[in-house]
């Protein structure tokens, strides 16, 4: 399945957005969407990226595909540094990395016919395959399970699942090496989700695709991914092969996240311990000091407040190592619910006070 050859790698990537209007002294708030993220995607694998809404998954995806300019770090695609390529230089590479978007309604132009939407890539980059553009587009429609006779219809004539197939056909048109799937099924019915996931897996086998699969749905990620990376507030807190992370997660956040995964069997669901985190996701405008997770972490200790942890190998080695960004990672047999939040409350209070004075200072 996957080789050890790296297709896309990011090292130390950060992305900040300027938000809000200028304050009295001309200072504007900085939102740190992606902070010092490093990851590798190997040829032919599926890397699952999970995390809560607003944790920076989509921003990271857009940095990796260079839809956003990154503020720090480097991005290497297929052995080539693409961090600072301009739009024209990126142009030939666009055909090798494609995206599938979350919203099957918003991602298709409502005023264009399906045939021309799918054929867009061919129109921009020039046809490569045999036959007319129409024939190629209809072939693509067949591959993704659409009726080629619907070539001249508008997106409004299709259901959500069919629309997502249109988005997949569009991404597939130029036979890219990497497809970034940004929550491709989260807007769909569960039954349709399964169809689309299966389609993505079939396509991966057939066309030797590499996926970066973003989702907040743990079951979906577990099913489709070879490796996963867990994101919290702009940082990757844990990564590793999917089975190891799911069975022996070592970061308290991953543990808490996994405990929220629905279990089909109600009896089993009743028995397991749900770990409910204290507080809300902190604002990325003023992330907590030290470990960004410390205000909500049941296992946090004094040094978590001051020391910023780095993503270190925790278990195993080589490309399949399980990495974790935690000063006090959990061992497989440790249970997170046995820890009681000790410093969480005091720190949250201190943070709120600090946030209030920050705007004037910056």
């Amino acid at each position: 399945m996957s080789s050890d050859e790296v297709l896309l790698s990011a090292s130390g990537v950060s992305k900040r957005f300027t938000v809000g209007s200028r304050g009295l002294l001309g200072g504007r708030l900085q939102l740190s969407a992606v902070d010092n993220v490093s990851l590798e995607i190997k040829k032919g694998e599926t890397l699952g990226l999970v995390g809560e809404s607003g944790c920076g998954k989509s921003s990271l995806a857009r940095c990796l595909t260079r839809l956003y300019d990154v503020d720090e770090g480097t991005i290497t695609f297929d052995g080539r540094d693409i961090t600072n390529l301009g739009r024209r230089q990126m142009q030939p590479l666009r055909s090798e990395m494609q995206m599938i978007f979350q919203d099957p309604y918003g991602s298709l132009n409502p005023r264009r016919r399906v045939g021309s939407i799918i054929g867009d890539a061919l129109a921009i980059h020039g046809s490569r395959g045999k036959g007319t553009r129409r024939q190629q587009v209809q072939e693509l429609m067949e591959i993704v399970g659409l009726n080629p006779e619907h070539y001249n219809r508008y997106p409004a004539d299709f259901s959500g699942g069919q629309r997502q197939r249109i988005g997949i056909a569009r991404a597939l048109a130029l036979k890219p090496k990497l497809i970034v799937c940004d929550e491709p099924v989260s807007a769909l019915d569960v039954s349709i989700q399964a169809q689309v996931i299966n389609l993505l897996q079939e396509l991966q086998r057939e066309f030797d695709l590499t996926y970066l699969f973003i989702s907040h749905d743990l079951s979906v990620v577990q099913h489709i991914s070879d490796r996963i990376a867990v994101m919290y507030l702009g940082r990757i807190v844990e990564s590793g092969p999917v089975d190891e992370v799911f069975t022996a997660s070592s970061h308290p956040y991953t543990r808490a996240l996994l405990s929220a995964k629905p279990i089909a069997d109600p009896r089993a669901a009743e028995q397991r311990d749900r770990i409910v985190l204290a507080g809300d996701l902190p604002s990325p405008i003023s992330p907590p000091s030290g470990c960004r997770f410390h205000p909500r972490c049941p296992k946090a200790e004094q040094d978590c407040v001051t020391v910023v942890p780095t993503l270190e190998v925790f278990r195993g080695g080589g490309p399949d190592a399980q990495k974790v960004e935690c000063l006090h990672p959990l061992e497989a047999d440790q249970d997170l619910s046995s820890f009681t939040p000790s410093i969480a409350d005091t720190i949250i209070g201190a943070d709120a006070a600090a946030t209030g004075s920050r705007e004037v200072a910056s």
């Binding site: 990126m90 978007f101 264009r112 921009i124 569009r170």
Partner: protein, 313 residues
């Protein structure tokens, strides 16, 4: 779309539901709008008259510029009222009013449509640029727009015509100059919201250029506001053209023009003796603008069901 293939897949159930595109739905709504249909019919007649003006006048046996000093005026040299030989009477120079009205339709409607066309084209392009690029491009275009919208139209138009001289080209350009700004503002506003949609990001991730995004992705989403604004702007420009003509700054004489005809009737208080010199050109002008406005309203209601008519069943 509706044609059923001869070899339909055996699993596909026969269905009588016909998929209707946005245009088909708009046409269905328009067809129910009686006022708009009548307005459309009136418009069609006026436009046909404008197109076939020479044919109509040769049938009537009248020339719009022929000054019949002998039979076109009464013994005191005053214009003749409506009669069998001149259906709508004659003007101060003994010219047939009907023949001039027929030819005037060409000028009035031609100038109205042409100036609106230019205004809409300029407004759409500038609105796209401002809304898509934002930043300095937007600032410059927005300021330009404010300046144009702040100018008193008639006064500035009079000044422009006075400077550049009287000709149909100048009239068209002057009218266009004062009407692109609103179109640009509408388009800019739409583009600002559209550019945040995911399909624009999708286009960018495919490597589409800015030009392609503006004209292939954004423009098709602007068709409806463009059509609506176009149909509402044409009557405005027809009236403004008539105003210019009335002030003596329209198309140079002797070309027939509705505004110019009213202006001629006003000279020396002639209209006090010859009501038909004001009544017919004024009436046609009102009828045309009314028809265009009602048609524009009907098109807007048909294309944009969100502001649906309250009276519709």
């Amino acid at each position: 779309m509706s044609a059923t293939p001869a070899t339909a897949p055996p699993t596909a159930p026969t269905t009588t539901v016909v998929a209707r595109g946005p245009w088909a739905l708009a046409w269905r709504r328009f067809r129910k709008d009686k006022v708009a249909l009548i307005a459309a019919a009136v418009m069609a007649v006026i436009i046909l008259v404008a197109i076939f003006a020479p044919v109509i006048n040769s049938i009537l046996g009248q020339d719009p510029n022929y000054q019949d000093q002998v039979n076109g005026l009464d013994m005191n040299g005053l214009p003749l009222g409506p009669s069998g030989s001149h259906w709508l009477g004659t003007d101060a120079l003994g010219r047939d009013v009907l023949a001039r009205l027929v030819y005037g339709a060409r000028i009035s409607i031609g100038i109205g449509i042409l100036s609106t066309g230019i205004a809409v084209a300029v407004g759409v392009v500038l609105g796209l640029l401002a809304g898509y690029f934002r930043g300095i491009v937007d600032v410059v275009i927005a300021r330009l727009l404010d300046v144009v919208l702040a100018l008193p139209v008639v006064l500035a138009a009079v000044a422009l015509v006075a400077v550049f001289g009287q000709s149909p080209v100048v009239t068209v350009l002057v009218l266009a100059f004062f009407s692109w700004a609103t179109m640009a503002r509408i388009v800019r506003g739409q583009v600002i919201s559209l550019r945040e949609r995911e399909f624009i990001e999708a286009a960018r991730s495919l490597g589409a250029s800015s030009t392609r995004i503006m004209f292939v992705e954004l423009l098709p989403n602007l068709v409806m506001p463009i059509i609506i604004y176009f149909s509402l702007l044409v009557p405005v420009n027809i009236v403004t053209n008539a105003v210019l003509a009335f002030l003596g700054l329209g198309i140079p004489v002797p070309t027939a023009d509705w505004g110019g005809m009213i202006s001629d009737a006003e000279a020396g208080g002639l209209y006090q003796q010859a009501w038909w010199l004001v009544f017919f050109p004024g009436g046609v002008l009102v009828l045309t603008t009314l028809a265009f406005n009602l048609l524009g309203d009907g098109i807007r209601d048909a294309l944009d069901p969100r502001i649906e008519r309250l009276l519709r069943k």
